[in-house]
């Protein structure tokens, strides 16, 4: 990412660089949005729906989104399933192995908040956002493949506002609505819910 980062910063300072930057951003955001390759981090039940999503019936290849087993080739990590304390270091490590720019989709209640395993358990991490920056949350236990499809399209919308210049973000096309489940802070404020 170093090269692109430097390029962004340099263009930003050049007179007239803003125009180049904007067109470059447009090309990059378009290509990134249309080719979101998934790192299937399926640990539990949601993994079945994650598999179903890229198979005959739902076929995510239509959106240019294919699952790749190797983190080095992926853009978006789909955390599908419960993350336990034993598993968390591996998930973090896989996330670190992915090249920038990268995004995370928390699929299912377990990855969002711990879900049904929120109470009484000693080994479950309550939400993957405790150690990963999550971009899109999908509620459901497990969510339908269509929800994952929706999440990919939402993520595409979110990617379309990125800029390579540090600290800049292009104007939001539309304010992203919350994707079904309240964010971590809101949930805690609301007093917690059980899956």
């Amino acid at each position: 990412m170093a090269f692109v980062d430097d390029l962004g910063a340099a263009l930003d300072k050049t007179p007239g660089g803003g125009i180049i930057l904007t067109s470059l951003d447009a090309v990059m955001d378009w290509s990134r949005g249309k080719s979101l390759w998934m790192m299937p981090m399926g640990t539990a039940c949601c993994a079945m729906e994650l598999i179903a999503a890229s198979f005959s019936r739902f076929d995510f290849d239509r959106h240019g989104s294919i699952p790749r087993p190797d983190p080095r080739h992926c853009d978006v990590m789909v955390v599908a399933g419960t993350i336990t304390r034993k598993m968390a270091p591996a998930v973090k490590r896989l996330y670190d192995q992915m090249p920038d720019p990268k995004w995370v989709i928390a699929m299912g209640n377990c990855a969002v908040s711990g879900g049904i395993f929120y109470y009484d358990t000693y080994s479950v991490i309550r939400g993957v956002d405790e150690f990963l920056p999550v971009d899109v949350y999908i509620a459901g236990c497990p969510p339908r493949p269509e929800s994952l499809q929706d999440a990919i399209l939402r993520l595409r919308e979110q990617v379309s506002t990125d800029s390579i210049a540090p600290g800049k973000s292009r104007a939001l096309k539309s304010e992203l609505p919350s994707s079904g489940s309240p964010r971590k802070g809101e949930r805690d404020a609301a007093g917690g819910d059980v899956g």
Binding site: T43, A47, M48, I51, S56, L94, F117, D120
Partner: protein
């Protein structure tokens, strides 16, 4: 003999079917030692059950074996029914048999498909999964969920069959054996697949028994043991079906038996639909809050992976004092080090796939 290499497979690896780490010691490409390290999905369901009422535990059992949720539901409900002395209406028993046999098809499609994927025949996986999608849609019509059904409840099932469901099941069962024949030709008829699966990971029958394996893993070795026939429960004695057995106990037999079991399941579903009579689907006079008398009970059923048992201890309160799930996948996976020894890394992957572990159930 070359210098030994240690290769770490997992915990997130395309072939481990979930989250299992296998530390493999390799001599060149040959596995000297394979040690599975499990527990990456250990969520403490047994501990959680101690702080929930008997009814609230049912959704937890869904998440045990997420490829075949109905089985854990049923095994748990049988244990509760035994503990609380509940008599289940006959229609509910038939519905349970029908949904569990459909679940067996769904689960085996995953098992056979992943055998295909492990050997590199990804298309076979797709074909198997298409069949699974049909079953999942039937279940969705039945109880509104694609994976975690929460359908079998203590005393019966949560609701009666929806209109037209029986016909949908009949049409599914009618086309399924033909689809299985197609899959058989596609995967097991292929000369490369035969070469990859035959003679790999041979599990002798006496080892299979001693290590506590069950289900297709044991039957692939020729162990003639199926709880549906040998320790009959529910209405299974009324059905006429065969238990397919393997001869060599290799990956080929283990994987192919699943295919024949699907065909047998279709037979059972057909008979069950014929015998299905109208009636209540839930036991009469069931209290809202079950509080069985103190004691312990164990019951087991034949799940897609083997004998799935639930052991419940009650202290008279509305919550289980202790719940233990005897998970077939856990026992089946424990033979992996024996099977993998002496085979290559490529075979190791196939052997894991042929044991068909589901880590929700292995780790609980």
């Amino acid at each position: 003999m070359t210098e030994e290499t240690i290769v770490n497979i997992g915990p997130s690896h395309p072939s481990t079917h979930g989250v299992c780490r296998i530390v493999v010691t390799l001599d060149g490409e040959v596995v000297v030692k394979a040690e599975p390290i499990i527990g990456h999905l250990h969520r403490g369901i047994e501990k959680m059950a101690e702080n929930r009422t008997y009814l609230q535990v049912v959704p937890l059992t869904d998440r045990l074996d997420y490829v075949g949720s109905m089985y854990a539901n049923w095994a748990y409900c049988r244990a509760v029914e035994r503990l609380a002395g509940i008599r289940v209406p006959e229609r509910a028993e038939y519905i349970r048999v029908i949904v569990c046999e459909l679940q067996r098809i769904a689960s085996h499609m995953m098992g056979i498909g992943s055998t295909g994927a492990d050997t590199g025949a990804f298309t076979a996986f797709m074909y198997a999964f298409a069949q699974r999608d049909h079953v999942v849609e039937l279940f969705e019509a039945l109880c509104g969920s694609r994976l975690t059904y929460n359908y079998v409840r203590p005393g019966g099932v949560s609701m009666d069959l929806p209109d037209g469901w029986v016909e949908q099941v009949r049409s599914f069962v009618a086309q399924h054996p033909a689809a299985m024949m197609e899959l058989d030709t596609l995967l097991f008829g292929n000369v490369i697949a035969r070469a990859r699966l035959k003679g790999v990971g041979v599990l002798p029958a006496d080892t299979a028994v001693a290590w506590g394996t069950s289900g297709p893993t044991a039957r692939g070795s020729g162990v003639n043991w199926d709880l549906r026939r040998d320790d009959p429960y529910s209405v299974y004695p009324r059905f006429d079906f065969e238990v397919p057995l393997g001869e060599n106990g290799d990956c080929y037999d283990r994987a192919r038996i699943r295919l024949w079991e699907c065909v047998e399941s279709c037979k059972i579903i057909d008979q069950a639909l014929d015998q299905l009579e109208p009636g209540p689907v839930k036991a009469e006079g069931l209290p809202r809050l079950l509080a069985p008398r103190p004691g312990d009970a164990y019951d087991h059923i034949e799940s897609a992976r083997g004998s799935l048992g639930v052991y419940l201890v009650s202290d008279g309160s509305p919550r289980p004092y202790r719940m233990k799930v005897r998970s077939p996948a856990f026992c089946n996976l424990s033979v992996l080090p024996l099977l993998a020894e002496g085979h290559t890394l490529s075979d190791l992957v196939v052997i894991i796939g042929s044991l068909d572990p589901v880590f929700g159930e292995v780790d609980r």
